[in-house]
Assembly symmetry: C2
Homo-oligomer: 184 residues x 2
DNA sequence: AGAGTAGGAGAACGATGGTTCTCGCGCAAG
DNA sequence: CTTGCGCGAGAACCATCGTTCTCCTACTCT
């Protein structure tokens, strides 16, 4: 038998791959059982319902996503470079083979109307991301309005990259960001 | 009995309200039957499967959405005004009580991974929208890259407005668009 | 008027999926 | 050793949903 911690990790890993890759409703609990190798009984002990598993998946993904982004951007030397690095990181993300857009936007589109926890998690994720951009913008001594504009560019790049299947929107967004940055 | 044309209209109206408002998989055919007042038999005569009804819904929405946008923007006097009017129209749209983001992005997030018709329709919609922006940009004598940047702003505004439930992103996007327009 | 047909209401069917239950096994405590 | 508990495997259960079928009504065409 495997430890509860390992079981939880395996479940969350399987859930993330499947939910993100195919959508929340398209994936059944049985499939998460098979992919994780954890029995249905244990699965329901750790996550009492599919809804709770979805929330756990989204919560973990939110934290990890923002950590990856911040680790990349914060490694830059100047505030301006950190801002532009956000778009470089987006480009790397878009290039990953399993990239399929923003997990939160996708979940919101699918269940936001019928599940307030999902809607709330999506909103919290966007707010946290926008808050991070606001920090970077403030550190660069730029007006707060700029951070809102950058957020729209990033958001638009994510959606566009997902639907067109190309990483190019990240470069276009960076170009636009450079113009806005210079003008602000 | 009602005419086949009326039945088709009523079905498509009901499907649009329900699919857009609650999601594709969250709405059953029975509910479309009730909302439209058209019997299940007729419904399946006109749309042989739920998948085909979804496609019909998306096709009609694509055309209507772009017509509404173009009717609004094309009424402006100058090319620059037409570009900025796109964002004013977005603001009006975001303010509608049943606004819930882009039907195509939502559908893509929900079924894009498992249904190629849905993925293809979403891509076609975005391409058509971007093409329209490219026309406006070219008419203003601006470089093609600008139209890509404007597309990202619009796209980001739609997603952000949907998740935050506010129409404000349209104004922020317009502000950013004005800066990019002046700099291009 | 009478026969045949189209249509409506809704039951029925089959598949799927979330959740729980049963069964049998292995291990740990007494 | 044996008793009981926790676990895994998977069947079972129940609701939902896409799709089709049945039955009955009402109208049309002669």
């Amino acid at each position: 038998m495997i430890s509860p911690e390992t079981a939880e990790l395996r479940i969350l890993d399987a859930a993330e791959t499947l939910f993100y890759g195919r959508g929340l409703q398209a994936v059944g609990m049985d499939e998460i059982r098979s992919a994780s190798g954890v029995s249905l009984k244990r699965l329901y002990q750790l996550f009492p319902s599919k809804g709770e598993l979805i929330q756990a998946y989204l919560r973990r993904r939110d934290i990890r996503w923002r950590q990856r982004l911040a680790a990349y951007a914060d490694a830059q030397d100047t505030p301006e470079e950190r801002i532009l690095a956000v778009f470089d990181w987006l480009h790397e993300w878009f290039g990953e083979p399993d990239f399929r857009g923003c997990a939160f936007s996708n979940s919101f589109g699918e269940l936001g109307a019928t599940s307030s926890p999902v809607a709330e998690t999506a909103r919290a994720h966007k707010e946290a991301f926008f808050g991070y951009l606001a920090e970077l913008t403030a550190a660069a001594g730029k007006p707060a309005s700029l951070s809102g504009h950058l957020a729209l560019l990033a958001e638009g790049a994510i959606t566009t990259a997902a639907i067109t299947g190309s990483a190019e929107p990240a470069h276009a967004a960076k170009e636009a960001a450079r113009v806005l940055l210079a003008a602000a």
